[in-house]
Symmetry: D2
Subunit: 151 residues, 4 copies
């Protein structure tokens, strides 16, 4: 797998926050939010980060670029339950060649619920072929503190 970063444990490392509220439809028979339901939360978070950075994903797609998820890594620390308000803290790391990574810290108030990293490729929306990440990806990136790269 290509992931090169670890999600920082310190909330202060994240420049952006997006809040979601757990839907009843997202719970399962264990009484908690199902693990698959977190992935759309991460997606909501990064879509909000792009919008806040002046790069709405609708415009990225209209300009001919798809941002494909090529890896997803998530660690579930504490269960979330129905109606929880969860802060999805996001950090876009500098691109490395054809891919870039986003780190996530999910918290309910000050409790860490989950951490995650997604790896993205930029694709030509018509041909599906990989593109170099546009310049704005680097512009939106946050420098990582030491200790958050995996080697």
């Amino acid at each position: 797998m290509r992931r090169t970063i670890d999600p920082p444990a310190d909330v202060a490392a994240y420049p952006f926050r997006h809040r979601v509220r757990a839907r009843f439809a997202e719970t399962d028979a264990m009484g908690v939010v199902h693990h698959a339901a977190y992935l759309p939360w991460l997606e909501e978070g990064r879509v909000a980060l792009l919008r806040a950075g002046g790069r709405p994903y609708t415009e990225i797609r209209a300009a001919g670029t798809d941002l494909a998820v090529i890896e997803c890594h998530i660690a579930y620390r504490l269960p979330a339950v129905f109606d929880d308000e969860i802060d999805v803290h996001c950090l876009l790391a500098a691109p490395d060649g054809a891919t870039f990574e986003i780190a996530y810290l999910l918290r309910r108030a000050v409790e860490t619920i989950a951490t995650a990293v997604t790896v993205h490729a930029c694709l030509d929306a018509v041909t599906g072929r990989p593109q170099r990440p546009p310049g704005w990806v680097r512009d939106l990136a946050t420098p990582l503190r030491s200790g958050s790269t995996r080697k």
Copy 2:
């Protein structure tokens, strides 16, 4: 709403059956399958009905027709739980102008879990404009017994 049929209560009225198994991801914190999870089961059922009728939905779409859901009506009779095997019985009713309807009876062994009707429009896949249902829709239709039309 446009629905004109009621789903027959008698399983013998349905010419086609497709079996699904309830996923854990489809359950909710009440311990039963979430009501929204039934709609993909109906969809699986009608996709299987089209395939069995020699009209795979992939080919319908490749030929330029989308089948949009314009109404969905569902009555939940008994809860389904994780790992239940559910038979989705389907019946495609004769088209009426620009739309056609599909009725569903969902059973776990001989117990009725739910009944449903979906109303579909045929759309040009490129322009999104309504089309008359292709001839094969009428060919796949099952005559409805008296008592299953709503007026």
Copy 3:
């Protein structure tokens, strides 16, 4: 089916509004929001209505009552697409015996995207047996104008 009301077409008939934003995960290969994704939006809307009415669903459940969906009726008028902001207007109708109904009008700005009605039963959360709707259900109900009952 038990539904007795039609969703009013006039937004002024609805006392409550909840906004959702279409997730990319909710779209499908037709390029629009998948029809099954609307049901969690309706659920978000009624959960927000209950919260605003001083009856958070978490407290209803903690007090021993589950609100089961026993019917769902939805008509899709115009497609919704990724990132659309959709207003889910909700109206809780007066209970009739053991069940009550909620009507919905979904709009993107002033365009009607969909209308819906859900029918609910109150269940004892432990035994799963039907209960009479608690008094607060009637307190939260909005009188329906003539023309919105089905007979």
Copy 4:
């Protein structure tokens, strides 16, 4: 993160196969299966593996054990599209202390679509507290060939 294994690239390393078919509801506006839809496929695969191994998850839960997902790692290699038949190959690795891991290889015919690893904790279904994995977890485990452990 706790993951200690890499998913073998060789299909012969996997003792179990479960087939799923991509639902239209699982696609997104890129025209491919949405990345979040793979997690329920992994879940279907491991539920089928447990059933085939004589340990249906319904019985595990009835016996008082929940198997929580504490990590999920997935790499998407090639897009899957609507109606694809995908083989979910699964391998349960020997437990290590309080957790165990499952590796997955997803293929469409002979093409690798995705690989994944999930990490699981055994929880007391009533208290939610971690348990040592029951003996049958070790009984169902497959030895890993050298090269599939991460250190």
